[in-house]
């Protein structure tokens, strides 16, 4: 059974204006429904650029980026927001708002210009909150939430868009162990239960290995390896990309990376 292709990136090359080097060079990626992809690589390797190019925010120098078969640049932002829900790395919080208000923002791509919020929108918000286990947070002010709660709320907002693809850019930085695990479990459940596709940029190699179906490792704008975690996360690859000696040990059928000490005691 061939799952539907949501994102197709082929041989993509991007360069920011005035930059000496390409930010991305010849990178390819296919994300299908029901697949959880992890995007790994050191800082500055082009992960966020790949995201932006795949979603039409950055125009590529060469190659193609397509969403549901259409070039990313041809999608209107509104239409794209109905297909892809993004949890960006950073967002601003200028004015105080409540959780249900911010999750409702996820429905905006579905609202007409002067039309009001309909029952269907309220229901979608409710469903999103339930899926993210955030129903009891609905009336809380955002600034009162803990890091983990806040991330769940942002994920709920992305879910409220009723997307086919979920994109998360480093969602677990500054989260503690429990919330980190909860988030990965949540994404995995959404992929399995609702048939969503998920693309997550993360620094957490081990959790990516445990939860993702496919992993793409970037280094200096180039794709180093792409495929199932077991195939991709070898000691040679990891050491070369991250410039640090590691040992790879299997756990639960998945490779786990153990960084080695420089001067063992």
């Amino acid at each position: 059974m061939d799952r539907e292709l949501i994102v197709a990136v082929g041989d993509l090359t991007c360069r920011y204006a005035g930059a000496p080097r390409d930010a991305l060079r010849g990178v390819s990626l296919d994300v299908r429904a029901g697949e959880f992809h992890a995007l790994l690589g050191p800082n500055g390797s082009g992960k966020t650029t790949l995201l932006r190019a795949a979603l039409g925010l950055v125009r590529p120098v060469a190659g193609r980026a397509e969403i549901l078969g259409r070039p990313a640049g041809e999608w209107s932002r509104r239409d794209l927001a109905r297909v892809v829900g993004v949890v960006p790395q950073r967002e601003e919080n200028l004015f105080p708002q409540r959780v249900h208000e911010t999750v409702l923002l996820g429905r905006y791509p579905h609202l007409s210009l002067f039309g009001g919020v309909r029952a269907a929108d309220g229901a979608a918000v409710e469903r999103a909150l339930i899926a993210c286990d955030a129903v009891d947070l609905a009336d809380r002010w955002l600034w009162t939430l803990s890091g983990g709660e806040y991330q769940r709320v942002r994920l709920a907002r992305a879910l409220a868009q009723e997307p086919r693809l979920l994109v998360l850019d480093e969602p677990t930085t500054s989260l503690d162990l429990r919330h980190e695990m909860e988030l990965f479990e949540l994404v995995r459940d959404l992929v399995d239960g609702q048939g969503l596709a998920a693309l997550m940029i993360t620094h957490h190699v081990n959790l990516a290995a445990r939860f993702a179906d496919q992993v793409l490792i970037l280094a200096e704008g180039r794709a180093v390896a792409r495929g199932a975690p077991a195939d991709v996360l070898t000691r040679e690859t990891v050491e070369r990309v991250f410039s640090w000696p590691v040992a790879i040990e299997p756990f639960d059928g998945r490779p786990q990376m153990i960084p080695l000490r420089r001067h063992p005691s």
């Binding site: 932002r77 967002e91 004015f95 905006y108």
Partner: protein, 313 residues
């Protein structure tokens, strides 16, 4: 419920400003008095419209530059208007519309200049560039204005500055008509952008991911808000503070969603300015205070009270 309350307050303010003033018009004569119909009514209506325009403009600009301390005049418009007005007087341009038109052209000129600055180097109306550019353009315009003033006849220009400090003494039905013909377009454009503006406060990238065409949004908001402000300055001089405070008051009382914020800011700004103008006309009668002073004196305690209520809750 909100709107009924606000509409009622608006009506009350309007009626009070008709009945009250330095000239003593007995209640029985009100309906026939030319003072009421030719002077007080157009003045009150104009004050209401200008207050509303400034309130709406303030909402838009605060969302655009993502800074709650933004005031419509922060982007150099008042400097440009002042320069236009001074040039009109120095050149002795004829006709009663010379001054407002010149002020409008000056304000729009400043707007265009800041807009160009905001697009320089591929930047896309970055809020910080807009603010800094606005300050720079405003300062430049003020410097040129001062140079002109120092070189030309002092008395006339001093009186021109009194105009610039804000006031509705020149209000007439013609002025009201001109404003009514001109203002609806930018107002409607801003109202239509209410939802994308809700998204913009999350940041530009998150807003794009939620479906906002941020490039187009910023340009439209900047142009509409600036045009509204330029029109306000042209008919009433520089009345600061309304565009800064009214958005905050409305956010505190009725929430920050722009679909609600724009209409409430319009009504609240209108009420505030109409009331301030009535006070300006009556408090030191037979003399008059510049309206901008009254808006500050009334607005600051009001804001302080609301702020306390909000931080306590």
């Amino acid at each position: 419920m909100n709107y009924v309350l606000l509409a009622g307050a608006a009506l009350t303010t309007l009626v009070v400003s008709l009945l009250v003033g330095p000239a003593n018009v007995p209640l029985g004569d009100v309906l026939a008095s030319p003072i009421v119909w030719q002077l007080r009514l157009p003045r009150a209506v104009l004050a209401f419209l200008v207050g509303g325009a400034l309130g709406v403009s303030g909402v838009g600009l605060q969302a655009l530059v993502r800074n709650p301390l933004a005031d419509p005049f922060l982007l150099g418009l008042s400097g440009g208007a002042g320069l236009g007005a001074v040039v009109a007087i120095a050149l002795h341009l004829p006709g009663p519309w010379a001054l407002p038109l010149a002020a409008f052209v000056g304000a729009v000129g400043a707007m265009a200049l800041v807009y160009r600055l905001g697009l320089m180097g591929g930047a896309e109306l970055d809020p910080r560039i807009l603010l800094l550019g606005g300050v720079a353009v405003g300062a430049f315009a003020a410097a040129v204005t001062t140079a002109l003033v120092s070189l030309a006849e002092a008395t006339e220009l001093r009186n021109a500055f009194l105009w610039l400090w804000g006031g509705f003494s020149g209000a007439s039905w013609t002025t009201v008509l001109v404003f009514l013909v001109y203002a609806p377009l930018p107002l409607v454009v801003l109202a239509a952008l209410a939802r994308p503006l809700d998204l913009l406060v999350l940041g530009e990238e998150p807003a794009q991911y939620l479906g906002a065409d941020v490039r187009r949004l910023k340009r439209l908001v900047y142009l509409s808000a600036s045009l509204l402000t330029a029109a306000a300055v042209a008919v009433a001089g520089v009345i600061g503070f309304v565009g800064l405070i009214v958005p905050h008051v409305c956010r505190l009382l009725w929430g920050r969603l722009h679909r609600t914020l724009f209409p409430t800011a319009f009504l609240t700004g209108g009420i505030l300015l109409a009331a301030a103008d009535t006070l300006a006309r009556t408090v030191v009668a037979p003399r008059e205070l510049p309206v901008g002073i009254v808006t500050a004196l009334v607005g600051v305690p009001l804001f302080g009270f609301l702020l306390r209520r909000w931080t306590v809750s």
